[in-house]
């Protein structure tokens, strides 16, 4: 049974067909920032959303893999965004969340935590409640 909902990836303006945009200077504050807006929108539209390296099926980092495993163990449906295709996603995400590392799990619009916190909450039984 699929527990992920990768549709959130579609919401973000990232595409392998636009490699020329990778590595551009960050958008100045005050100007339109479509990546930041797309991230904010994805967080608000998905009850549980994980920003990770790779995909739930093929995590590209042990911390992301462990976080996915905790969510899957609880059988919680979640949206997933791969931050690797465009470095600006991570940059904007961390600016929004004030959290420097990946993965980042959000529930009901709020940052739940990274791998360490999610794992700790899973082990203590708090995670399923936080994702209600």
């Amino acid at each position: 049974m699929p527990t992920s909902e990768p549709s959130a990836i579609r919401d973000l303006p990232m595409s392998a067909s636009q490699p020329s945009t990778v590595g551009e200077a960050p958008v100045q504050s005050g100007e339109p920032n479509p990546i930041r807006e797309a991230i904010t929108q994805a967080i608000s539209e998905h009850k549980v959303i994980l920003f990770m390296k790779g995909t739930p099926e093929a995590p590209a980092c042990g911390f992301s893999a462990r976080t996915v495993a905790a969510l899957q163990a609880l059988d919680v449906p979640f949206a997933a965004v791969d931050i690797l295709p465009d470095p600006r996603i991570r940059q904007e995400l961390s600016a929004i969340s004030n959290w420097p590392t990946i993965p980042q799990l959000f529930a009901n619009g709020e940052l739940v935590g990274g791998c360490d916190i999610v794992t700790e909450m899973y082990e203590s039984g708090e995670l399923s409640e936080a994702l209600q």
Binding site: S94, P100, T101, G113, C115, D116, E120
Partner: protein
């Protein structure tokens, strides 16, 4: 390259009363695991506790520090008899 001892000293210097145990778990000077015990964490959420530690390193996280796995806690209180 950073050492576990560098991180330990910076955490303990930045958070008053903190005790840090830091391990370089790959031996490569860029992936660390830290347990930080500090009274300063009392009354703060886990997220806020981790932010206090992350803020010490700023842009170094994601740069020279590829990973900093954290466990934060407040000191165990000895129950008064």
């Amino acid at each position: 390259m950073l050492s576990a001892e560098d991180l330990k000293q910076r955490i303990e210097a930045s958070i008053p009363g903190a005790q840090a145990e830091v391990e370089d778990y790959t031996g490569g000077g860029d992936h660390f695991r830290a347990t930080v015990t500090a009274e300063a964490f009392a009354g703060r959420s886990r997220i806020e506790q981790h932010r206090l530690v992350y803020e010490i390193f700023g842009e170094e996280i994601g740069g020279p520090i590829h990973a900093l796995s954290l466990k934060t806690q407040t000191p165990q209180k000895t129950p008064t008899p």
